[in-house]
Symmetry: C2
Subunit: 267 residues, 2 copies
């Protein structure tokens, strides 16, 4: 048993979709969340910069005596996991492994689609992980850079979301995929629009759910689950507090048991 | 006469629209450009963070012995000009004053629209500047957060651009504006789509042109124009180099006489 907090980190607040699933599965775990809102988005930035940001944020979070770090950002998970594991003693969990395993379970045709940011799609992390699980899986990828701003504007059911989804997903559908990985923490909020475009036969893999499940498994195996019986608050730290921040947080997480702080991290 | 370089600064590379106009007007001026691509966009961030970033970037640029600093970013111009003038000895020019003066010359009905990022629209810089010029001018404002990603994706003539333009501009048109300030350096690239939505009677004010003209005026008055007769290269520094960077730079500026460098500014 281990009552120390779980740290969750994202470029912004999209990672709160992962927090939501962790909280549902393990309400008695203390969660500390960091959103690097002063420097978001990561998905359009270079691998070198993405890794540097991850190391800086993890150094900040390590000050809270955390028991595990969840990198809830696909762009960061695509490049930073090895560097983080090399530098820190706590276990580090990304979203790519659980997302890939869920896609493997879901696909029958072994033709899988992946949508995400430029960083995630140009990186090879999903390719490597999926072919490590089953080398017959074929992966078809598409960067969807407009999806994040559309979600942050709350336009998930607007005709603009539909039009963007058609633009991005139609080329993927020509490859007859039967499974689509939503490779960005913002995308679950676009699920119904994506569903309309891809139809009922394509299975959508939301890595937030599978990441929370894998986290539970890992904590259980390592005997790191909390002994507490009480539901714990979530402490959110952000590197910048914008006007729209509280609104967007509510979209992701509701407002119960959530404390928001400006992080003392001058980035 | 003064052969030292002009520095131009933006959150990203949208400010290259200003560089383009400066180069057209003063081809023999040496220009050093800084794009804070590691931390862009600024427009969704807090005033406090926007000011801190401006001071850091200006400190970097001051190392080049510059004769003047042009803040070619509306979000940064909305908050940082006073802090920059207080801290540095060189003159500092923003885009809001020239944009406001151009709008004042353009409007007959004194009903002016402003579109820009959240930071620019929530700030009061345009309101203050315009009412300083003519207190009868009424300003109607609308944040257009999807426009920047649409431009960066090269989708300015795509149906998505048209749909976004309708969503943002229709509410402004109900106020019978006769002039619209394009309060973000990316927006001139959306001019034809914006024109389709607002019709022929609304005059569009592109602050890039008016900023270049004001810069020329200021340099002339202070006897700071270059004595050189030769066309000068533009040295571009960015805090992060992404894959799509060279493509987007070409969209803004072409590729002649442009040198791109990664800035040694660990932000």
């Amino acid at each position: 048993m281990d009552n120390r907090p779980i740290a969750v980190f994202d470029s912004g607040i999209g990672g709160l979709t992962v927090v939501k699933q962790i909280r549902r599965l393990m309400p008695n775990e203390k969660i500390i969340y960091f959103g690097d809102t002063a420097r978001l988005p990561y998905g359009s930035k270079s691998p070198e910069t993405i890794v540097r940001y991850a190391l800086e944020v993890a150094a900040f979070l390590s000050g809270f005596d955390i028991k595990i770090l969840v990198v809830a950002c696909n762009s960061s998970s695509s490049y930073s996991i090895d560097a983080l594991r090399a530098k820190f003693d706590f276990p580090v969990l990304g979203v790519i492994e659980p997302g890939s395993e869920a896609a493997h379970r879901a696909t029958k045709s072994k033709r899988v689609g992946l949508i995400g940011t430029y960083a995630t799609v140009q990186g090879k992390a999903y390719d490597r992980t999926l072919s490590g699980i089953d080398r017959d899986i074929k992966l078809y990828k598409k960067a969807c850079p407009l999806f994040v701003p559309i979600v942050e504007e709350g336009l998930y059911n607007h005709p603009i979301a539909r039009q963007a989804a058609e633009m991005y997903l139609t080329p993927l559908l020509t490859h007859n995929i039967d499974t689509l990985i939503l490779g960005c923490t913002h995308y679950p909020l676009l699920k119904s629009t994506i569903r309309e475009v891809v139809g009922k036969k394509v299975r959508l893999v939301d890595s937030a759910q599978s990441t929370a499940r894998l986290l539970h498994e890992v904590l259980e195996q390592k005997d790191l689950l909390s002994a507490s019986k009480k539901q714990k608050d979530i402490d959110i730290f952000v590197s910048d507090v914008q006007n729209k921040f509280h609104k967007v947080t509510r979209i992701f997480l509701g407002k119960n048991g959530v404390n928001i702080n400006k992080a003392d991290l001058n980035v």
